[in-house]
């Protein structure tokens, strides 16, 4: 499918940009939404060039067009979109319509800038705007209609810049009940950078490498004090200890985990164990020595309790000093802002989406946190998507495939006649 009069579906995320054609199952391009520059050279690498095999991402300066989830820098975004549209999708914008997935509460000034970018710089034929939660609901409802007989659900979208809890009813997001936490993948990566820099190597500039380490090594713990005690044991017994090797440009171009099997040892521990709390001073001493030794060779750092302390931040931001409620309370407040008749139904259909939910054991831990906050007679059921990163994109693809999609869009001639403000009223947010 190249060009023609197809619909291009673009999910403009803070971390990853997902682009493809409407009607497809999977997007053609899932690339980082940023431009990067290596310290030695003057050339800027765009989007998927950063993922190429021979690129060493150490010390790379990144420029993101998205700040706190909203599109601020249209110059950089134009570069990224050009690369994606011309090189990866090979589509001609003047012949196609665009379905853009935007975050909620987009200020009018930014909406105007986005419209300018779409119509005047690229020249798309028409533009449709949707928000991620309604698309996710559409996709899940079409896959499992028996679960959503009441046509409503609560979509928890844990993305790169923030986390939203949005109730969706009949494919419309209930704006007044949306609650937002300013924590997402970006804050988790920054926290991990801070922990590693404080305890071993200084990695404050290595965003992409630490992103990779976070995705491969972090998990959610079901019992934090118990796991902290386990992590204090010496290296032979500690099931959490593993090391990540940084690239040095000569032998390794990409960072990687030293021993993946070792990294997965924690899975074999049963979830509800009784720990025998005896810290022996010997184990502590050997642990400190172990921590100091491997750093001198090779360029690697060791992670033990950071692996589960980093995702812990989503559940208890106050442990960091941030005066925000955790994700469980965010869900409860969002649901309580809705009509009382809707509340039990919403608790029964909670959908988890967004890349940050990919941590192992996330859904289990969320259910444990949520259950005490919910009245006894309501059921709590959490549905994790198969592929949380592509969830919103697939919903967009379904929407774009519908025959009445063109009626929902704003065409270029309408935009030129009436301007951006009048056209935006057609989209309900």
């Amino acid at each position: 499918m190249t060009g023609g009069s197809g619909v291009v579906v673009l999910d403009n995320g803070g971390g990853l940009l997902k682009a493809g054609f409407g009607g497809d199952m999977n997007p053609i391009a899932v690339v980082p939404n940023c431009m990067g520059k290596l310290p030695g050279s003057k050339k800027w690498l765009v989007a998927d060039q950063l993922q190429a095999q021979d690129v060493d991402v150490t010390g790379m300066t990144l420029r993101r067009p998205i700040d706190r989830g909203y599109l601020i820098n249209t110059e950089v975004q134009r570069e990224v979109w050009e690369r994606v549209l011309h090189n990866l999708l090979q589509v001609d914008p003047t012949n196609s319509s665009l379905l853009l997935v935007e975050p909620q509460f987009n200020p009018p000034a930014l909406q105007h800038a986005t419209d300018e970018l779409v119509f005047e710089e690229f020249g798309f034929k028409s533009l449709g705007v949707a928000d991620a939660p309604s698309l996710v609901h559409l996709y899940e409802a079409s896959r499992q209609p028996s679960l959503f007989r009441a046509q409503c659900s609560l979509v928890v979208d844990c993305g790169f810049s923030f986390t939203h809890a949005c109730p969706v009813l009949h494919n419309f997001t209930l704006n007044y009940a949306v609650r937002r936490m300013d924590l997402g993948g970006k804050a988790l990566t920054n926290y991990l950078k801070e922990l590693v820099s404080y305890r071993s190597l200084n990695v404050m500039d290595e965003t992409l490498l630490i992103d990779d380490a976070k995705e491969k090594l972090c998990f959610v713990s079901l019992d934090v004090p118990g796991d902290l005690h386990l992590a204090r044991l010496s290296s032979k017994d500690s099931p959490f200890r593993c090391s990540y090797i940084l690239p040095d440009g000569i032998t390794y171009k990409k960072g990687f985990v030293k021993d993946l099997d070792e990294a997965h040892r924690y899975c074999s521990i049963p979830a509800n164990r009784e720990w025998v709390g005896k810290d022996s001073t010997d184990s502590d001493r050997s642990k400190f020595e172990d921590r100091k030794k491997p750093e001198l060779s090779q360029n690697e750092f060791v992670l033990t309790n950071e692996r589960f302390l980093v995702p812990e931040m989503l559940f208890h931001p106050i442990d960091l000093g941030m005066n925000q409620a955790g994700i469980a309370e965010c869900i409860v407040r969002a649901i309580q802002a809705c009509h009382p008749y809707l509340q039990p139904v919403l608790f029964e259909s909670i959908i988890l989406t967004g890349g940050t939910t990919l941590f192992p054991r996330f859904a289990e831990r969320l259910e444990r946190e949520l259950r005490p906050l919910v009245p006894d007679d309501y059921q709590v059921k959490i549905i994790a998507q198969d592929d949380p990163i592509l969830g919103a994109w697939r919903g967009g693809s379904l929407l774009a495939h519908r025959p009445d999609f063109e009626l929902m869009c704003v065409t270029k001639s309408e935009y030129e006649e009436m301007g951006s403000m009048r056209c935006r009223r057609r989209f309900f947010h």
Binding site: K37, T61, I72, P107, A165, Y176, R199, L228, G321, Q324
Partner: protein
């Protein structure tokens, strides 16, 4: 991140001419009133950062790279003028457009003037938690922390961690 001389900060500090790297926000926090709360706020802001701040410093770092040889002043001046030109051409063009951050746009949008039933970005924020009890983690090893450092207020869990903290990290924010 700049190297700074720390002799002027606080009465407890040994005067030291060695340049140490310090995060810019930490530096400004320390310089203002040596307040622990301000340092904590600075740390939280750093968590939100998008790595965009590194762009400005990058051009200065190029300066440091080139001027490793300090005997050659003429060469350094020439390179500085070249760098200034480089900044005006590409870097500044990108910087000018991106000078507004999202918080600026939010201020301009003036959301408080809307009637209270209209949902906005600020009203959608989840707000403070219901309990303000928090857990503290040791800054050296990460286990549950019970003790506080007298000088800088960071937490640690045992005497061993306290020794490490005093040797290497107290009041020396390396980041």
């Amino acid at each position: 991140m700049e190297g700074e001389d720390e002799e002027n900060v606080g009465p407890f500090r040994r005067t030291s001419a060695r340049t140490r790297r310090m995060a810019t926000r930490m530096a400004s926090a320390l310089a203002s009133s040596d307040n622990r709360a301000q340092a904590a706020l600075a740390r939280l802001e750093a968590l939100e950062s998008d790595n965009a701040a590194a762009e400005v410093v990058d051009l200065n770092d190029d300066d440091e790279y080139d001027s490793a040889d300090e005997e050659d002043h003429v060469l350094m001046q020439k390179k500085q003028s070249k760098n200034m030109k480089r900044k005006t051409r590409q870097g500044k063009a990108l910087e000018k457009k991106a000078a507004r951050s999202f918080m600026d746009v939010l201020q301009e949008a003036n959301l408080e003037s809307l009637p209270p039933h209209v949902p906005t970005y600020s009203r959608a924020a989840v707000g403070p938690p219901s309990t303000s009890s928090r857990r503290y983690y040791c800054s050296v090893c990460g286990s549950s922390a019970n003790y506080t450092c007298v000088r800088c207020g960071t937490r640690f869990c045992s005497c061993r961690c306290q020794v490490i903290h005093n040797d290497t990290r107290c009041l020396k924010f390396v980041a």
